[in-house]
Symmetry: D2
Subunit: 353 residues, 4 copies
């Protein structure tokens, strides 16, 4: 069989499952036979038209499976081996990559190749470019259902926490507890935060936040979350805040809730509102309060993937609690509809192949 | 004589020279007899009403002189010794100070005590609080005329460059070449930048920028400076940009002129316009371009003062080229008028006592 | 009552409980009435003659209690309030402190004042110098029995982990699981290590190590621990190693067990053997393997103390599991004998007052 | 013509110029026609037998020229274009590279491929592996005679300074002023050191050190250099010291000359003496003086090369002052003899093709 099914975007606003040829690997590439994938809110954004993509491009960037075919230059992997790849697949060799900004490979957001620059991986087979740097073996003790969270959610959320530059015992506020926000909460916990304020109104997500290390739940429907956190900290605020929603309101709340000397770490995607983000002068100390704003995009590469797998293997947390629904690939359009319309309290729908 | 003359602000919008008692040092303080001072644009802002201060407070925060009287707990200094103090005088012991944010001593901008929280030092005598940490001996080989630039201009400008987190050979753009911008240019040069774009239209300042290490002069009256710098860098932009003006226009230009992965270092004071600063989504990569915005306030403390003195002593640069005018203290009101109204191409007016 | 009992060292090799006057606080000091203290192996070293101290000096540097008397300059504390102080009490104002090396206050190891430069705090009352920066309030939810571990063990152990400069998911080996090594294990766990190899042969300590996050126990009596760890990591070694014993053998093992690019973090005290430590050229890559060796001394200050208290308050760990024995202060000499001679599997003996 | 001349090592202790086939580029490689090269002391060490290499391997790792042939995957370069490559040529994709330790590509010192793992580049043609990341275009304004110093000397020396983690105005001591030591002196100057002590006894090298920014020359034949530097710094020592000789004596001097909290940066090659390096306990504060020892190997990659070229282009320094002798490639054996036997005050002999 040389054909496969792929979940594509024929044009802005629509999706479909179509037949495509099974790809062949280039010399430095590997083709993976997909076994598990997650649908991402970014896919929804893409279908909504926020990203200029080729008509008919395959969607998806959170997937793993087994090695199907190895490029001629690729060594160290065996056919059938269980492997994963990050949503971001840098070349590692350009100047951006060499200076550590691998997500900006070749230029702004350039490490994000799936769907944006080539077919995504919500398909029965997919290509892993620069496989030496991007293809990650999955340890036996890590299930595929857990490992698939390293492709984007955990890597992005952990980055959110890493950009907080936490001292041991620092305090953090995380705005919104979707899958990325939950992962950011977990990241702050793993990196030594003491008190973690999780801002969220949905009870199921509040509970998951606590599972991942949140010490204080802030329900924004019960009052201004900035005020709530300031009161809980004796008026002082937190050392760092993570924006994990992508909204001008939570962005500004982050700037207001941190102390002088504090850090705002942005992981939210701000493509859904056209206006510039605002930096209020009082919250910013007129430009002199030693506040830092840090942004970023999911860090890729198989070193990071393997470090995340090692954390999962250590048993410190179970990312599969974020899987609220499971669908077979035949039902991927239903799954997408759940994600697009936030039906039934969906956090992440797992697709099995 | 137990009285002295002080340059004060009787109320918003006015200045005067008045008589005040010569201050007595507390146990941890030192009183300095002033010999040299510089007028700062911040003094102009303060008189304009941007800072809530006590009526009649003494202005000034860039001054040095000789030890007049030592507090009972202060050792290691001798009366008559030549000494300086930074514009920012932290306690070094509060939690903000302990975590390295000494300019935010006790809370936002709290390290800025002169004029804001106590009499400034544009007076014949002034107090140095927490003298063990703040009083800096001036080496014999460093003239007072040069040393006085360490009190604010060099420390602030160098911070602007430090916050750029430069790799050796990185490229930098510095927006505006007043005394702080010139010092930021110098700081970028001292910290290993290769190409430094100095954005400035005034020929005298352009020349000083070159003296301090600028490799490219960008005259914004000849076209959009962002476009000019992008063209000069093959469309790529710079690794870091320093905002040294305090304007929404240069703020936005900084965000637009840096590469993905680049840093914006804000040193400009944004108190003169009430609107929030804007972060355009395209320049910010929708929050995902790995861009960092860092703000700060002149770092104080006698360790930093002495490191700056050591740099001056090494002969690498001469800050006195920024002294465009010199006035006796009797003429301080004229000097202030020059600064307030930017008369005669003034950069920094030196006041001698 | 103006007299108190103090546990002192009359001369090298001997200890005694003697009467001393209750100290009076200087202007910037506070006198604390002791309620809980821990005996430290360093006290044993001191009595053994490793540190030049005044005859009759009071021993001890891990103690807390309630505020007894406030110096005239000290505000923000109330008599009777529960407070603690770190073993290291820096001035925060000297050049060493200003550059972040507070444990080296005034010069090498200068932040270590108790016993070394002034009476220690194994006494019914003790002085806290530079109280604004050193005196830490204990939150209600943190017991004194737990808080006393922040004075040295947790702060030192956490420093050991901090100096490893861990990326999330890095691997660490910790050599020796005494109270500092256990705290280093815990620190590595709190800072995001994935796999933590705890080198230890005593079963009780092995079990505590696992409680604190060790994933692999390496019993050095079962074979060379370096070989065991290399085998467990596919020949590659770990990202960082912590020396928590103070022995030339474990020092060298640390250098041998880390990868190229790895970090050795020394927290062990090497005063018991006179020979220089050795850096084998093969393990050091002839000086070119990008290996880093970092040393340090327990970081003090009430900011760090409060961050550690916040971590204890969050319920992530319980340091009191390291308390193997409890003695009344009347029995402090027995407790010291237990510590000096490692009787009955002692880890830390708690002294209550 | 399909044959070329290459300077090889037939066996330990001997060199020869032999005929070899002109290499063909693999898909990701480029073949360069050599125009300029420098002989390195490392070549002398290699011939002396310190490195296990293939008999007949080509020597040399500091060379540049013009593009001769491009591999099928390589874009962005044109035949005849002037290009250079660093002595270290990492893959950028392995886990060591991904975590920033590109010189340790694949394992200890693994980024050092020329001579060690493949033919070196002291030949009429040579291969550049992983050309996308390693092949660096040379700007028109940078001469080949200057650019060739970026291949090893400047990159290594600058790393020595970078590992000092200098604050602006810090003080540095650089032990030995050969080409790497001189480059380290220059690096410390470029990164903002105030006072730079250059330890050197040869007048020509002392003069070059001053040209590159040394403020104090320490002649070790006039007395213990540690004592001289301590005296010059009021007994306190320097913030950082760079070992640029590769000797146990200077290694120990570095540890002794830094303050508590200071950094030793090792760039010297310690392969010529078999004994372990020693860390004296007094200098090391018994393991508690917050001292850091950092080692490393010349950082490669075309990003760094281009940043160094940009610095040369800015006119801040002229590395060609280190070229004491020039030889045609026909005389490479004479040049090697000069280097091996340090004849005629040789620092670096340039080979032209």
């Amino acid at each position: 069989m040389s054909r496969m099914k792929a979940f594509v975007m024929p044009q802005v606003g629509s999706t479909a499952v179509v037949d495509k040829p099974i790809p062949e690997p280039g010399p430095n590439e590997v083709v993976v036979k997909t076994t598990h994938a997650l649908i991402c809110t970014s896919d929804v954004h893409t279908v909504g038209g926020t990203l200029p993509v080729e008509p008919g491009v395959t969607l998806g960037h959170e997937a793993l499976g087994t090695v199907h075919a190895l490029g001629s230059n690729v060594t160290g992997f065996a056919e059938g081996q269980r492997v994963a790849v990050n949503a971001v697949t840098p070349c590692f060799q350009c100047r951006y990559c060499q200076t550590g900004y691998t997500s900006q490979c070749g230029g702004p957001l350039g490490g994000y190749q799936y769907t944006a620059q080539r077919d995504g991986n919500m398909a029965e087979y997919f290509v892993v470019p620069y496989a030496k740097g991007n293809l990650a073996p999955i340890p036996d003790v890590v299930s595929s259902e857990a490992a698939v969270y390293a492709c984007d959610m955990l890597s992005t959320g952990f980055m959110g926490a890493e950009h907080c530059e936490l001292r041991i015992g620092d305090t953090v506020a995380v705005f919104a507890q979707g899958a990325v926000g939950l992962s950011a909460t977990l990241g702050a916990h793993l990196l030594g935060a003491s008190r973690i304020f999780a801002v969220e109104s949905i009870p199921e997500r509040q509970k998951l936040a606590e599972t991942f290390g949140a010490t204080d739940i802030i329900d924004f429907t019960a009052g201004d979350p900035v005020q709530q956190i300031l009161e809980a900290t004796g008026g002082e605020g937190v050392d760092a805040a993570i924006e994990a929603l992508g909204s001008p309101i939570t962005w500004e709340a982050c700037l207001r809730v941190i102390k002088a000397g504090g850090r705002v770490s942005n992981v939210g995607y701000h493509g859904e509102h056209p206006e510039p983000l605002q930096v209020p002068l009082d919250a910013f100390g007129l430009g002199m309060a030693d506040k830092t704003i840090r942004s970023g995009l999911c860090p890729g590469g198989n070193d990071r993937m393997q470090r995340i797998f090692a954390l999962i293997a250590s048993g410190r947390f179970d990312p599969t609690v974020m899987t609220t629904h499971t669908f077979a690939f035949d039902d991927v359009e239903t799954a997408f509809d759940y994600m697009a319309n936030k039906r039934d309290g969906v956090i992440k729908p797992l697709i099995t192949f």
